[in-house]
Symmetry: C2
Subunit: 240 residues, 2 copies
Amino acid sequence: MSSSSAAPAAKPPMREALVAAAFRLFLERGYEQTTVDDIVALAGVGRRSFFRYFPSKEDVVFPDHEGCLADMTAFLAASAEDDEPVRRVCDAARLVLGMYAENPTFSVQRYRLTKRVPGLRAYELSVVWRYERALAEYLRRRFAGRPDGTLRADVVAAAVVAAHNNALRSWLRSDGRGDAGAEVDHALAHVQAAFAQPVRVGPAARPGDEGPDDVVVLVARRATPLWRVVQEFEALAGHA
Amino acid sequence: MSSSSAAPAAKPPMREALVAAAFRLFLERGYEQTTVDDIVALAGVGRRSFFRYFPSKEDVVFPDHEGCLADMTAFLAASAEDDEPVRRVCDAARLVLGMYAENPTFSVQRYRLTKRVPGLRAYELSVVWRYERALAEYLRRRFAGRPDGTLRADVVAAAVVAAHNNALRSWLRSDGRGDAGAEVDHALAHVQAAFAQPVRVGPAARPGDEGPDDVVVLVARRATPLWRVVQEFEALAGHA
C-alpha cells in the first residue's frame, strides 16, 4: 500500500502529488468547488495524467482503498485450513486500520471531508460494502457445508466491519490521537467473543451447531416466574 | 406503509400509478433507457406530479422505504424500558421484511433490477445504512452507560441487518416462493442467540459479557422436556 500525504514529501511520485494537490484544494475551497482542472493545474500535470490514476474526482479522495482491498483479498486467500476463521477476518480488517493509521493527518482530513459531502459518503458506503463482501466470501468458503454457513458468514462479516468502524471512527473523531490499534483490537475482541467459539448450553446446541430448525431461543429476565418461562418455551417450541 | 404493485389495481392513487408505469417501462426498456418523461406519459400525468411524489427516478424504485423507515423509528421510540433491546431491534427489522413480503412480485422485480443497475445498488446501500443507523441509535440509548455501549449497539445493529438481508435475499432469489417470515425469524434467532445478553454458562459469564445481569438466554431443542427447560432456566438465572 502506498501512503499518501496532504503535505507532499520532496519529489513525490505523480500519483501522490495529485492526491496532495487535491486535498489542499478540497480543504481551501471545498470539494464541490474544486475541479479536476484545478487539481492538475496545482500539481503541474495534464488532465490525462489525472485520469491515468483516478477514474473520477471521488476516487482521489480514497486513493488507497483499491490497494487495501487487493491486500485483504490476498491475505484471506493465503489463509491456512487451521486458521480460526473469525480470527482471520479480524486480522484482515486490521489491514484497513493500518492504512488509516499510517497517515493520521490525511485520514482525519478525509474523515471530515467525507462527513460534509453526501457523494463521498455514498462512495465510502460502497467501499465498506466491498470490504464486507470480501470478508463474507472468505467466511462462506470456510463455513461451506455447515448448516447456515452463509448466514453465519454474512453476520460475522457485518459484525467485524461494524466493530472495526466503530473503533476507527472514534479514533478519527479524536483527531487521530490515541492508539488506533488498541481501540480496534478491543472492538474486534467483542466479535471474537460472540462468534469464535460455539458455546454449548446444557443439552442443546446453539443454532449453527446442528439443525437449527430444531432449536428455540428463549430470552427472559432472571426474575421471570417459572410458569411464564414454561409458557414461553411451549409457545416458541410449538408445543402449545 | 402503502403497497405498490407493478400491475395497477383498478383506479390506483396517482403515486401507485406512477410506480406501476415506471416498473412496466423499466422491465420493457431497461432502467437507464427510461426517462421521467416516459413514465409520466404512460401514467397520463404531468412531470410536476412525478416530482411531487419522488425526488428522482431512483426514488420511484424504492417507493416504500421512507414510510418503512418512519414506521421503524416510531416502533423503536414506542419501546418500553423492559423490552429486551436485541429482541426489539429484531422485531423492528421484521417491519422491513413485511414491506417486501406484502408484494412478492414487485419485490422480486425490483431485486432483479437493482442487481443490474449500479446506481440503484448504491441507492440501496444508502437505504440499508439508514435502517442500520436507526437500529444502532435505539440500541445506543438502551446501552447508554454500559461499558462499550456504542460498540455493542453498532455491532448488534449490523448483525441484525446482515441476518435480515441474508434471509430476505435468499427469499428474493427464490422468486418470492417459500415463507419469507420463517426464513427471517430463523436468521434473527441466530443474532439473538449470540447477543441477547448475557448467556451464563456454568458459574462464569461468557467472555464479552457485560451490563445488567438480569436477562438470561436459554437455547434448547424443541423436543427438550419441560422439566429440563425449567432446570436449565433455574441454573442460568441463578435460582438453583
